[in-house]
């Protein structure tokens, strides 16, 4: 149930367009002063949820609370939240200052007061020298920062960001990640960030809600979502992983012994709902694997190196387990002193850090 200290409480929110259900019964709470991310592929309902919080889409069923106050029936101009739009949506006929001052004026600030505050906001995003220009005279990255300044100027209780970085090039995108994160810390405003880019989500967020097909798949801190994905979708969508089909042979003390095929065996953490004999998927991140000549104490899987792929910071080694599936092992380039790179065709053992392998429900 809604709490006053939560920035946003979404309670059993459903969104339907005719027969199509865009969101099915989502409930989540977003804390005050949090950088919260809605992550998922396009069409998963993340933008719909954001637009429902902003007031651009009505809620078919359920309720939305802002600091304990029910808001789902308020029009967008009565909700103390502001949005940074994907295409920025800057007013083309107004100058940068007029754009940033717009929300302040609408909230009843005098023209001069609004302009002074707009000037401060432009200083914050380092665009003071462009104050008198029109949006079309600015680059994409600059427009992005104007949109940010405009949305932050009226000091909203929550800032909504709809894929704000997707139109920028890679370098700028990476720089903006840190700027956004810093801005969130400085202002203390709750940010709700929508993205389909898992790297963006992992680097910026305090907590992430992973969504797919109108449902929430997992909610948790970035690290938790990466290291302990609940299901196949989350494991596959976030980062790179080895997804292998396994059958569970026996379960003892919360540890499951799994059969990989080709006589390979592994021990995984037990997961609720997975019993002996069930066929499930297992996920293990490539960077938590390493290769060796001889079997180590932990469980080692024998295989043949097929290829090495250089990917900048790492080397990806593809290993065919004998009579079994294929696995990818990542070796950091900085580790090369300690870890040997095996040539294609060489025999090697794939070893695993403890607790690296996780069973997943489908």
């Amino acid at each position: 149930m809604p709490e006053k200290s939560n920035a946003i409480d979404v309670v059993d929110a459903v969104k339907r367009y005719g027969d199509f259900t865009a969101l099915q019964q989502i409930s989540l709470s977003i804390f005050d002063n949090e950088f919260f991310t809605l992550l998922g592929p396009s069409g998963c309902g993340k933008t719909t949820l954001l637009r429902m919080i902003a007031g651009f889409e009505d809620v078919t069923e359920g309720a939305i609370f802002l600091f304990g106050e029910e808001i789902e029936n308020l029009p967008p101009n009565k909700r103390p939240v502001n949005t940074v739009f994907q295409n920025y949506a800057l007013f083309p006929h107004m100058t940068i200052t007029e754009n940033v001052a717009f929300g302040l004026e609408m909230r009843g600030k005098s023209k001069s007061e609004a302009r002074t505050r707009a000037g401060e906001m432009l200083e914050l995003v380092q665009l003071s020298q462009f104050a008198a220009r029109k949006p079309s005279q600015l680059s994409g990255g600059q427009q992005q920062r104007v949109a940010l300044a405009r949305a932050l100027a009226p000091q909203p209780k929550v800032l909504l960001l709809d894929e704000p970085l997707s139109a920028l090039d890679l370098k700028l995108r990476q720089a903006m990640r840190f700027e956004l994160k810093e801005l969130q810390r400085e202002t203390g405003i709750t940010f709700i960030f929508v993205t389909h880019d898992q790297e963006e989500a992992l680097t910026m967020s305090d907590r992430i809600a992973v969504m797919s097909a109108g449902e929430m798949q997992q909610l948790g801190e970035a690290k938790e979502i990466y290291e302990r994905p609940h299901n196949m979708f989350v494991a596959d969508f976030i980062g790179e992983t080895n997804l292998l089909e396994v059958s569970v042979d026996q379960i003892t003390n919360g540890r499951a012994v799994c059969h990989l095929g080709g006589g390979h065996e592994l021990t995984c953490n037990e997961v609720q709902g997975v019993g002996v004999g069930s066929k499930v998927h297992m996920s293990v991140r490539p960077e938590r694997l390493f290769l060796s000549d001889e079997p180590t104490e932990t469980e080692s899987l024998k295989g043949t190196v097929r290829d090495n792929i250089f990917v900048g910071t790492d080397i990806q080694t593809i290993v065919d387990l004998s009579d079994g599936p294929q696995m990818i092992v990542r070796t950091s380039n900085s580790d090369r002193g300690n870890k040997r790179i095996f040539d294609p065709g060489a025999q090697a053992y794939v070893n695993m850090e403890s607790e690296a392998a996780r069973l997943l429900v489908d």
Binding site: A54, P75, T83, F85, N87, F91, F102, R107, A151
Partner: protein, 309 residues
């Protein structure tokens, strides 16, 4: 292609330039024959002497302009005093055309907005519906309008039958009837350009305005209208200019009292009673006036743009 042109040097670009000249020739010819030549003919005619049975005598004269602006008494031998008759007709025409334009804007803008916000598939149907009445001849439409509006017409019958009024409202032969007629004649010219610019309008701007606490009214005034202004201006010009020179609606709906420039000019060329140079002069004055109005408009537009930028 671009690379080829660069390496090919100027010989090739000369060929292109030459081809362009030839290809543009038909367009220039059409413009010359159908626009420039008639206007020049009018200009020349306005400075000729009138022939009593219509037509002109090829003799240079200011008589037509003199007749328009000067009152020289019953026998035409007094010094020039300002002749108000024709200036008043012009003034009334501007007023009528302006009112009709405003009416078209007030009705046309919401209509255009409505069409542009329908699903993409059904928009052409709405545009089609708007244009259907215009497949019927303007004369027929204006006459039917008169029939609709007259004292014993369907409109008054309906209003009396609902009990809203006791006796018919006299609409025909008033200024309002002319404005209605002009509005009805040129409404699509208002709707279509506005529709075109609203369709291109980025609706997330309206969302952004609402997000920044603007009411619907403020959003319309400060975000939507400035963005679609070119369409609105185009629509206003397209309705105002033909309204100004129109003669069907004022003749049929306005009666003799509500004479407009169009009728004045038309009369000069009708039958044998006309005065061609005078009609030509009135046309030239009308043309000059329209150009001046458009120029002032363009000038202000540019100033506003500069001031904002």
């Amino acid at each position: 292609m671009a690379a080829g042109a660069a390496s090919g040097g100027s010989a090739q670009s000369d060929t292109y330039a030459e081809a362009r000249t030839w290809l543009l020739l038909p367009a220039w010819a059409v413009l010359g024959i159908f626009i420039l030549a008639p206007v020049l003919m009018m200009l020349v005619y306005s400075f000729l002497t009138k022939e009593f049975r219509g037509g002109v005598i090829w003799e240079f004269s200011f008589a037509a302009y003199d007749q328009f602006f000067c009152n020289r008494g019953l026998f035409g031998d007094e010094p020039c005093a300002i002749e108000w008759t024709f200036i008043n007709i012009f003034w009334r025409s501007i007023w009528q055309a302006g009112a009709a334009t405003l009416l078209s804007l007030v009705i046309g803008f919401p209509t255009a907005y409505f069409i542009a916000t329908r699903p993409e598939k059904v928009r052409p149907i709405w545009v089609f519906l708007i244009t259907i009445p215009y497949w019927v001849n303007l004369l027929i439409r204006t006459v039917s309008m008169k029939f609709m509006l007259r004292d014993q017409g369907p409109l008054n019958d309906f209003l009396i039958s609902t009990g809203l009024i006791d006796s018919p409202i006299h609409i025909v032969n008033t200024n309002f009837a002319v404005q209605l007629g002009l509005f009805y004649s040129y409404l699509p010219f208002m709707v279509l350009p506005i529709y075109a610019s609203v369709e291109r309008y980025n609706f997330s701007l309206s969302e952004a305005a609402a997000d920044l606490y603007a009411s619907k009214w403020v959003t319309l005034r400060r975000v939507l209208l400035p963005a679609v202004k070119p369409g609105v201006i185009a629509g206003c010009i397209l309705v105002f200019v033909p309204s100004l020179g129109s003669f069907l609606a004022p003749d049929l709906l306005g009666g003799a009292k509500n004479f407009m420039i169009g009728s004045l000019i038309e009369e000069q060329f009708k039958g044998n009673a006309g005065n061609w140079p005078f009609g030509a002069a009135a046309s030239m004055i009308l043309l000059t006036m329209v150009l001046i109005i458009l120029l002032i408009f363009a000038r202000q537009q540019a100033k506003a743009e500069k001031g904002a930028g």
